[in-house]
Symmetry: C2
Subunit: 234 residues, 2 copies
């Protein structure tokens, strides 16, 4: 699976959250992921729509990554949508070039998650406010992924940042990023690849082995439970 | 009441619906309405946010008028939002400069109204897809008006265009554009001002008088019904 991350940000170099996200996937190969910074690629704002359409065809998962200003993307991404997602390409007669691909959102948001609900400060949920993107996925025949919303990045502690790093890597690379089973397998694989050289501290190898064993035990228990439930239904 | 119509369109001169809407309010005075064409005012895309904020302060009703491409505005209006609706002006500490004003949308839409519902071609309603603008109104303390959606303008017949002309004039000028009573009063006044000179055909004055009489009779009947209902509740 190849993922295209389309980033729109008026000043990506100065954004701590964008830089953190970029760094956390910098080890991935170009076979896995393409990072595409719109404002840097087109500083004059003139988009090469044929090049963009060719890029889209090469990838299976398309992510729109941007700060959620006024409940939508920066203007550059909207310009991209209007000029690249054309009739006969993305919709309409023979406009099936995006069909079957996935569309996801990576949103950086200044307020807290609790503010986005009825009665909260913003009054509406992220699901409601991102409906236009869900409609884009529907119109183009793409599968809409559950958005990855990064709330209040500057206030995150180290543990929360590590959690975000894993969530983001999985959102970019995992074939089913919303499945517990797939996320477990991914974690076991990532842990197995971790070695004493890449991590500081004593007894690291032992700790990692213990964590892997625990995750695998949990999975066996969950699988057994599922088996019981399936038998019950038969 | 003064209304500011902020129009965003990549090519407003070539848009038949935008030209129709502009013509239908061309008789209104500058005390009543200001038409503000964003792309023409800022051809280089550089927005004078202080001038824009001063313009907003001068008006009571703000309308965003644009083609509903990909379920949102053209990029220029989003740029305007991001740069003009700043902290301490539109929200945040002392950011109450738009409080109590009204925010409305005038959307030109290529498909039919029936396509915008669950199970329809687009899958989501206009209310759902315009949630981000409703959230802007909430955040800035503005009253959100029911959007005026113009579906499939090129397919409209003359009667439908006349209906749109009245709806749009009322949306721009009427203090309560959604109230039947106010719309009736507006219509009676507009008809009374109509004369044989401005309309072709024979017996025009007589026909207009008849229409006014009919509308006023209807209103009296509705008022009587309301009185009965009120008595019933007492």
């Amino acid at each position: 699976m190849r993922t295209l991350i389309i980033i729109s940000h008026p000043d990506v170099d100065e954004s701590s959250s964008q830089q953190f996200l970029l760094q956390s996937i910098s080890h991935l190969s170009s076979d896995q992921v393409t990072v595409h910074l719109l404002e840097k690629t087109y500083p004059d704002g003139v988009i090469d729509f044929e090049k963009e359409q060719a890029l889209l065809r090469l990838h299976d998962r398309i992510l729109f990554q941007f700060p959620f200003y006024w409940y939508s993307s920066p203007p550059m991404l909207k310009k991209w949508q209007d000029e690249v997602l054309t009739d006969h390409f993305a919709f309409g007669y023979r406009g099936n070039k995006l069909e079957g691909k996935e569309l996801g959102l990576v949103l950086s948001i200044g307020l807290a998650e609790k503010d986005y609900q009825a009665g909260g400060q913003e009054g509406f949920s992220i699901s409601e406010l991102t409906r236009p993107y869900q409609a884009v996925a529907k119109k183009t025949g793409m599968t809409y992924l559950k958005p990855l919303a990064v709330f209040q990045f500057p206030y995150k502690n180290e543990a929360e940042k590590m959690r975000l790093l894993i969530d983001y890597q999985q959102y970019v690379t995992l074939s089913k990023p919303d499945s517990l089973k797939y996320r477990e397998e991914w974690l076991v694989k990532a842990l197995a690849e971790t070695s004493e050289e890449t991590l500081p501290g004593e007894n690291v190898a032992f700790v990692i082995d213990q964590v892997i064993e625990r995750v695998e035990d949990n999975r066996m228990e969950l699988d057994e439970l599922r088996m019981h439930i399936d038998n019950y239904h038969d």
